[in-house]
């Protein structure tokens, strides 16, 4: 693949082979991995992003009482989804200021979805009347199943990319022969050498995280990727049901009695859970067959300070309100999965732990980014004519620009769309996402027509400008400008603005560096010219 390789002896060391594997495994899906890494990174602040994207909801100073919120939402669902066999209510937390619900639609009309989804105001229990948005949920969904694609395809694609990532990490560690000797080494202003040093530092410092996050990412969707063991072993519905309860407290509705009976108050049930697990630590309330004599209510424990997502729940009789069952243990294999799952999501963490996740994950994003750029840096010097690179080189270069600078612009564009789209427009949440992709495609087209270096500078500059002006746009379009947020002690909004400025500074610094960069071709040309002169003499 490389001209230099032919000059060497035919037998190549394992390190060289691993280096090739690392290069190509990393490059082939590097652009998708970069997008998965960055959207995953911001998803550690999913709830805060959602709060920012619903500016109509006031800053949540104290968490609304989850039990009361559950009762109010259940009352609303009793009106809008009375005949549904199943409701799942997700309760507000200290970080999330909304309740949400999912319910099955018993006899969906053709062409309509067989389920309903809605967001609720925890203080009234009414459906939210604010701007329709996916909020931070969009980045999370994009992270593991993309968009426009059928969900299952997207998840398979994400899994395939994660496998490439595992290969890239393992082969990268083998390739990096001076992992300890060069641990703290950075050689400034040395072109390819500097890129490699930075790439190594970003990879090695976060190595435990990068390995963990890639492997656990595969674990989160393991029942999709490897269903055959379960298929072979779980031959009866009863076994399947027992298996499902090891993974999730989401149970299907049982047989109906077809005798109407009022649902017992769910707030009392939530309080039983809170007494057991701590206030604010009930994640969700699942109601099956509401309004029937066979109604059941499952109250599920939240994620606070528990490094496992294994289901822990209380099962109540939905009519008498009697506690029927307590499940707080799963088998060893299920618990292993639960721990790995929780490590990936990081939902158990308090604010500082979340920041640690965010920072190290951002380093992972930069690791992928520097790896992608390095592919071009390494090859540019060897090009016969650096002004007119071959087709493959140009493809990689343009895709790098569109995926690295472009994603920052598209993500910021999504947030701009949230503020600029009229609140009442139909299908608003979907249009916000369309804005994201339209901006991204626009950036790709721009990157295709501009000279590469100019495109880097201009697009990084544009990203910096959009990020820096976002707090200004927010101040103009909402009643929550930066100074007021600070004065009110609203650290979600103030922190968001500060973060945008910090990211703007980062992009501006990158744009400046790209602008100041003296292309190395000229130096190399000079050297080559000198060498030629020596030969002539």
């Amino acid at each position: 693949m490389k001209p230099a390789a032919n000059a060497k002896p035919p037998r190549r060391g394992v390190r060289q082979r691993m280096s090739d594997l690392h290069t190509w495994a990393g490059l082939l899906v590097g652009w998708i991995l970069y997008a998965m890494f960055l959207t995953g990174t911001v998803s550690y602040f999913k709830d805060e992003i959602s709060q920012w994207m619903r500016p109509e909801l006031a800053y949540q100073r104290v968490m609304p009482d989850p039990a009361t919120a559950a009762q109010r939402v259940a009352a609303t669902l009793g009106a809008v989804a009375a005949d549904s066999p199943q409701w799942l209510i997700t309760l507000p937390t200290t970080r999330s200021n909304v309740a949400s619900a999912f319910w099955r639609v018993p006899h969906p009309q053709p062409g309509k979805l067989p389920y309903g989804l809605a967001t609720f105001d925890p203080s009234t229990g009414e459906k939210l009347a604010v701007r329709d948005t996916l909020g931070g949920e969009f980045f999370l969904r994009f992270h593991y199943q993309f968009y426009y694609l059928p969900a299952v395809w997207g998840r398979w694609l994400a899994g395939a990319c994660a496998m490439f990532m595992v290969v890239a990490i393992v082969s990268g560690v083998i390739t990096h022969k001076k992992i300890f000797v060069d641990f703290f080494t950075f050689r400034w202003g040395k072109g390819q050498r500097s890129w490699l040093d930075a790439h190594n530092a970003l990879s090695v410092f976060g190595l435990p995280f990068h390995l963990m996050i890639t492997y656990t990412g595969l674990v989160t969707l393991m029942t999709l990727y490897m269903p055959w063991g379960a298929h072979a072993a779980l031959t009866t519905p009863a076994r399947q049901h027992a298996f499902d309860l090891q993974l999730s407290s989401f149970m299907p509705p049982g047989a109906r009695a077809d005798v109407p009976a009022a649902l017992a108050p769910v707030d009392a049930m939530v309080r039983v859970g809170e007494a057991r697990w701590g206030r604010g630590n009930v994640a969700s309330v699942l109601v099956t067959n509401p309004g029937d004599a066979q109604a059941r209510v499952v109250v599920t424990r939240g994620a606070v300070a528990r490094v496992s997502t294994s289901p822990q729940y209380l099962l109540f009789d939905g009519v008498s309100g009697r506690l029927l069952d307590v499940r707080e243990r799963v088998g060893a294999a299920a618990q292993t999965r639960g721990v790995l799952y929780a490590l990936h999501m990081g939902r158990f963490g308090d604010l500082t732990l979340r920041w640690l996740y965010f920072v190290v994950s951002l380093a992972g994003t930069a690791m992928v980014g520097t790896g992608l750029v390095m592919w071009t840096v390494k090859r540019r010097q060897k090009l016969p004519d650096p002004e007119r690179p071959h087709f493959g080189f140009r493809v990689v270069e343009r895709l790098n620009i569109a995926s690295i600078a472009g994603l920052s612009i598209a993500m910021t564009g999504f947030l701009w769309g949230n503020r600029l789209l009229p609140a009442a427009v139909a299908g608003r949440a979907r249009i916000e996402v369309d804005v994201f992709f339209a901006v991204w495609v626009g950036v790709l087209l721009y990157a295709l027509v501009r000279p590469a270096r100019r495109a880097w500078i201009e697009l990084l500059g544009l990203a910096a400008a959009l990020l820096a002006l976002l707090p200004v746009l927010n101040a103009l379009t909402t009643g929550r400008p930066f100074w007021r947020s600070v004065a009110a002690g609203d650290w979600v909004y103030a922190g968001f603005d500060l973060m945008m400025w910090a990211l703007a500074a980062l992009h501006a610094a990158l744009a400046l560096r790209a602008a100041r960069h003296r292309p190395r071709e000229r130096i190399a040309d000079g050297r080559r010219a000198r060498a030629l002169r020596v030969e002539d003499a």
């Binding site: 950075f186 963990m212 300070a305």
Partner: protein, 93 residues
């Protein structure tokens, strides 16, 4: 406690960096004796172990290990950044 663990890790990784001849040259302009380097290395590894103990004692194994992993990564980044800045300063002189 996490701040203490972070500071300890920064110190420990700083010691480990200073136990390397390349960085001794960068920061002090000369290489240390082998004994001094060895002591720095010992201090560095001890510091990392003490920080691990602190983190686990404070929050238990599950949360402690997760926090420790993040703290060591960030501490390594801080030491790395400091070395880069240091080197740039000296190069400019």
């Amino acid at each position: 406690m996490r701040v203490v663990a972070l500071l300890l890790c920064v110190g420990a990784l700083g010691c480990l960096a200073m136990a390397m001849a390349r960085h001794q040259q960068t920061v002090f302009g000369r290489a240390f004796s082998i004994v001094a380097s060895r002591r720095l290395r010992g201090a560095g590894w001890s510091g990392l172990l003490i920080a691990l103990w602190l983190s686990v004692a404070d929050q238990g194994w599950a949360l402690g290990l997760v926090a420790y992993s993040g703290i060591t990564s960030v501490a390594a980044g801080i030491v790395y950044g400091a070395l880069v800045v240091c080197e740039r300063r000296l190069a400019r002189r």
